[in-house]
């Protein structure tokens, strides 16, 4: 069995329908507030003209990533980043497949270059002048855990802080019925191999088997958690919001869970 990967959380970001920031989500998680109306993700890291034109997936990922980096106090320019998503931008994939089926020669070049799975990573690095390593990954239904394992591995292996952003949007058209994704959700963490006074420590241990997701009993939280694969992050972020030591499991692959011990500073 592997040793635990120990990382400290330096920054947190989150966007869910009704809680457009980590702060808003934390208030809902601690029963200090109720979710509001869904708002357009605020991706203020992107230049204004890019914000107007950017696809939903890019806005969503950049909104969460921007919050996490701001909290960390780091410059995004030097931060390696991992963008995880099960399905990427399904609205663009639906457009591509529908257009190719009817008028392939009319395919939009902008839509095409926005269709790559690493579009959010590309826009993010361009907007933040980041020349560090950037990656775009998928792990199917287990994308969040797969991305978390990759980002934590990178932070420890290279002894550098790493940004993880995980996002998925609602599917649309015939593709949407295949992916069973009903809403958008994104989260982000800046993970560090060193404590440096961080309040939250994660000990991540891969363990064979999938324990499955248990409903928490909170209807809103469970609804968000079930909306897409990236929203499998919800239980971890609820545990972080509670600011108490906790243990939970997050699936990282078929037949592989991450056992996460969450240590909060007293």
């Amino acid at each position: 069995m592997s040793e635990a990967l120990t990382v400290w959380v330096k920054g947190i970001g989150l966007w869910a329908p009704g809680t457009p920031t980590w702060h808003a989500f934390r208030e809902v998680a601690t029963a200090e507030a109720t979710p509001g109306e869904a708002e357009r993700p605020l991706a203020d890291v992107l230049p204004a003209n890019e914000r107007r034109r950017a696809p939903e997936s890019v806005l969503l990922a950049a909104a969460a990533a921007g919050q996490a980096v701001a909290m960390s106090g780091h410059s995004a320019a030097t931060l390696p980043c991992v963008f995880a998503s099960a399905h990427g931008d399904q609205v663009i994939t639906d457009y591509m497949c529908a257009t190719l089926a009817t008028a392939p020669a009319e395919l939009s070049p902008t839509k095409f270059h926005n269709s790559v799975h690493n579009a959010p990573a590309g826009y993010w690095t361009i907007a933040t002048h980041c020349h560090a390593a950037s990656s775009a990954v998928s792990g199917g239904e287990e994308s969040f855990g797969a991305g978390l394992l990759e980002a934590a591995s990178q932070a420890i292996a290279d002894d550098r802080d790493v940004l993880l952003a995980s996002y998925d949007i609602a599917g649309t058209g015939p593709l949407g019925s295949m992916t069973s994704t009903t809403g958008p959700f994104a989260s982000a963490l800046v993970l560090s191999p060193r404590p440096d006074g961080a309040a939250i420590r994660l000990d991540i241990t891969p363990e064979p088997g999938n324990s499955g997701r248990e409903p928490s009993g909170d209807a809103w939280m469970d609804g968000v958690a079930a909306s897409n694969p990236s929203a499998a992050a919800v239980p971890l972020f609820r545990a972080i919001a509670a600011a108490r030591p906790a243990a939970l499991r997050v699936a990282a692959a078929r037949g592989l869970d991450l056992h996460i011990d969450l240590g909060a500073a007293p």
Binding site: A119, A121, Y123, A132, S177, L256
Partner: protein
Amino acid sequence: MPPLAITAFTATSALGRGLDAHANAIASSTGGLSPNDFSTAPLPCWIGRVAGVEDEPLPREHAQWECRNNRLAWLALRQDGFSDAVHAARARYGASRVAVLLGTSTASIGATEEGYRRLEHGAMPADLHRPAIHTPHSLAGFVAHVFDLEGPCLTVATACSSSAKVFANAERMIRLGLVDAAVVGGVDTLCDSVLFGFNSLELVSAAPCRPFDAERNGISLGEAGGFALIERAAENADAPLFIGYGEASDAHHMSTPHPEGLGAELALRDALARAGIEAGDVDYINLHGTASQKNDEVEAALVARSFPATTRASSTKGFSGHTLGAAGILEAVLTLLAMRDGVIPANLGATTPDPLCGPQMAWHAERADVRIALSNSFGFGGNNACLAFARRGVVA
């Protein structure tokens, strides 16, 4: 970094199935491009198509994964004893100690496209009603299923650098003790998305691509599947070594490279540093060399200013076409073959060298002792990767 052993590797492309087909094509400078007969509407261009994929369905037990991309994966896995090597690694280490880390640009989107061409009452047709293939993770999910592996399973989808970057993922996981072995590689297959997509960006040549030619006018798309098995280096094996990698971002533009090759140079420096070598130690570089105007201009300048004349360099995309997410693994395999056989591949397709090119360019096949070699892969979004390999016994 501690060197790792590449204990098995293989590739299947327009050049044929497995290592011998590729070695023969390189030795005789015989390319595999042919006129486009693939796209669902006419598109005058040349492609690197793998022969026979449409005639070889997956075995019945894998039917839920059926699609062109997974067929090519299945074909590629069964060459050069690669499947046997993975089964042996699973038996040696255990199912949860072998990672599956695969790169792809579009995975099995060809099957999704097909569904949209023949919708039934506005929905996916019944035979394609298989969620597992309508996702970027289709390929890695399929390969993990085939070998019944339960370790980390990750798709890297950073466009054309995808299946180079998976080598870096594997190195980190092995060094941290998360796994003992990793199946890396990637598969991308021809589909309308990429043919009409690159056509919409006016990046596709109507003629066979001519990397680094003064008159080059665009890419030729291809398809390929390739795999490598990476393990810790044992003392007495003769497997080639994976000794370094570099990853960096251009931060410039979604679909054109940084004009000074900033990200490419950072990736190169990172790879040399991790490998503990200098530019002068490099005998061969397999270039990204897509034959697009911009890529080749930037990459030619980078090679000319960074390496001595003794370093040999060529692009093999004139042989195979640009295989997108599979380019990283296909070209890593061709680099390992150059090392094994002592043959520098010709920069096939070019007749009039771009004056930007330095003396490093191998315009024709050459015999050479290749002890240390690099492979470049650069993707959309400014995503750059560089891999470093060495023959056993070369690097202390």
